[in-house]
């Protein structure tokens, strides 16, 4: 892993402390949503980017976390932990599918997770509030304004998540994940318990997704079944892909990019009744096209672009510096 220079680390801490005091609430909200998404995206990257298990079901885990937080309530650590536990349990439940199925079938099966999930979210009204959703999510007491306090909370959590995910990547489990992604059969011969590794990937991804969902709910103080549809799963996959799979910076950059996109479009493009198109349409169009373009042009994503810029002129085979 790259060593951060002291100046870079100090700059990051300074930015973290000062940004909420200088940026206006609108963009602060965008950063907050991006940070929450980053946590979820880091989870998905463990599953799809590092272990190679394509999952379209991420939205279901997010939703489960949000409704768990609503149902459990109480102090922040309690509902966050509860959401994480539910996410882990769901991940464990999804694992047998991953073990038995080949990649393409698994993709369709995870699609089923989203639909079944949304159906449950609509029907289980006592917990989820059905189609009307829930607006009684637990709040968190934080300094400053709502958006300021949440910025400090969210991005501290992002840092913690980066730490944990970095640990996993460097650990025995992380190596097993990479081996499974590279060649499952060879990994087994090397001694990797493939089933267990896939289960670990689903559990880790589930925990982070549920946590992100819970944070999302608490931040927005409202969740409804439309928040957990297929498009959300696709957006998270896009974050991982556009940002750069199997990297730490990638999912964070991807989350910032995908979250900010509709807002950037709003600012840049003329939309509304006069122009005949809505902001949502343009956003989605750009999003769809970008997905295609990124996949074709720079498959290693924004993280690789950033690394290339940093490494310009340096020729080193050492992975630590991130310069291939």
């Amino acid at each position: 892993m790259r060593r951060w220079s002291l100046t870079a680390a100090l700059a990051a801490v300074a930015a973290y402390l000062v940004l909420p005091l200088t940026v206006d609430d609108y963009w602060l909200a965008v950063l907050n949503l991006a940070g929450i998404a980053a946590i979820g995206a880091l989870g998905l990257d463990l599953l799809t980017g590092r272990t190679g298990l394509l999952s379209l079901g991420h939205a279901a885990f997010l939703g489960a976390g949000a409704y768990t937080a609503a149902a459990v309530g109480g102090p922040f650590p309690l509902w966050l932990a509860a959401a994480g536990l539910v996410g882990a349990a769901l991940g464990l439940a999804a694992a047998p599918f991953a073990v038995r199925l080949r990649g393409h079938t698994l993709a369709i099966v995870t699609l089923a997770l989203v639909f079944v999930g949304q159906h449950v979210f609509r029907e289980w009204t006592s917990v989820t509030g059905g189609n009307a959703g829930r607006s009684d999510l637990p709040a968190v007491g934080l300094p400053g304004t709502h958006d300021q306090g949440w910025f400090w909370l969210v991005w501290a959590l992002v840092a913690a998540t980066l730490l944990v995910v970095g640990n996993v990547a460097r650990s025995r489990t992380g190596r097993a994940m990479a081996a499974v992604r590279s060649d499952e059969a060879a990994a087994a011969v090397m001694g990797v318990d493939v089933a267990r590794t896939k289960a670990a990937a689903f559990v880790a991804s589930g925990v982070l997704a549920a946590a992100a969902g819970a944070l999302y709910g608490s931040y927005r103080q409202y969740v409804g079944p439309e928040d957990w549809g297929l498009l959300v799963s696709v957006q998270y996959l896009a974050m991982v892909l556009i940002g750069g799979m199997a990297t730490l910076a990638g999912p964070v950059l991807g989350a910032l990019f995908v979250t900010a996109l509709p807002h950037v479009v709003d600012v840049v493009v003329e939309t509304g009744p006069a122009s005949g198109v809505t902001a949502a349409q343009v956003t989605q169009l750009v999003f769809g096209l970008l997905l295609v373009v990124v996949v074709m042009a720079e498959p290693r994503g924004l993280a690789a672009l950033a690394a290339r810029a940093r490494c310009n002129g340096r020729r080193s085979p050492r992975v630590e510096q991130g310069c291939a």
Partner: protein, 236 residues
């Protein structure tokens, strides 16, 4: 007599009307290195696949240290000390050289997801220990643990493949064409490492077409012909 590490008895492998192995029998003791020879299609790789657990034989018995391996999955066999190299190196490009080496030690390590994620002291100690061992093997084979595994030249990939197998302190080495695509200097270094491991008590089965290199290592040779035994005997 040194204990038998590997016993193969009447091994048969048939699929889709093809008889890959039609009755193979031999044994390897600790400290022995067997050269498994024969023309292409003789079934050498099939023997390695059966012993490593990648493929289930149609008939016959495989025993490791006296224990019947029937029904034992591949990952578990690695845990029992079986280490296999592949003809086409199974290098994990997402990891660095050190990471690939540590994969060879995977079954000897214990840390699970949570221990790794939260960097428990036991996990950290285990890793540091493993990295020391891996560094020693890397040095013996002329590899840099910090280098990226992607983009390694062909010879280095073969050395990495061998290093990974050795990193787990194996009881049984199954080497599938370890010398293919390597230079004479690399072969020397690799042969030395294999010899050291075998002299330390491991058993080895080596398949390779570089006959001089293999026979210099081997204490015995087993020859296969179209899935069956040809001759067995001491190396000349």
């Amino acid at each position: 007599m040194t204990a038998l590490v590997l016993e193969i008895d009447g091994l048969e492998l048939r699929f889709g009307g093809v008889t890959a192995l039609g009755g193979v029998t031999f044994a390897v003791a600790g400290g022995e290195c067997v050269a498994l020879l024969g023309p292409n299609g003789a079934g050498k790789t099939s023997v390695l696949n059966c012993v490593s657990g990648a493929v289930r034989p149609t008939a016959g018995r495989i025993r490791l240290g006296g224990r019947d391996l029937d029904g034992v999955p591949a990952a578990q066999r690695a845990g029992l000390g079986v280490a296999r190299t592949f003809q086409s190196p199974a290098v994990v490009e997402a990891l660095d050289v050190g990471g690939n080496l540590l994969l060879g030690r995977h079954s000897r390590l214990r840390a699970g997801l949570v221990a790794g994620a939260l960097a428990f002291p036991t996990a950290r100690r285990e890793e540091a220990d493993a990295r020391r061992r891996a560094a020693a093997i890397a040095q013996a084979l002329g590899l840099d643990p910090g280098a990226a595994a992607a983009g390694l030249p062909a010879g280095a990939r073969k050395r990495l493949e061998l290093a990974r197998a050795l990193a787990g302190d194996p009881a049984l080495l199954l080497l599938d064409e370890p010398f293919a695509g390597t230079s004479a200097g690399e072969q020397e270094v690799m042969a030395a490492a294999i010899r050291a491991t075998v002299e330390g008590g491991a058993a080895a089965v080596v398949v390779d077409h570089h006959l001089d290199a293999v026979l210099a290592l081997a204490t015995r040779r087993v020859e296969l012909d179209r899935g069956r035994m040809a001759t067995t005997g001491a190396a000349p």
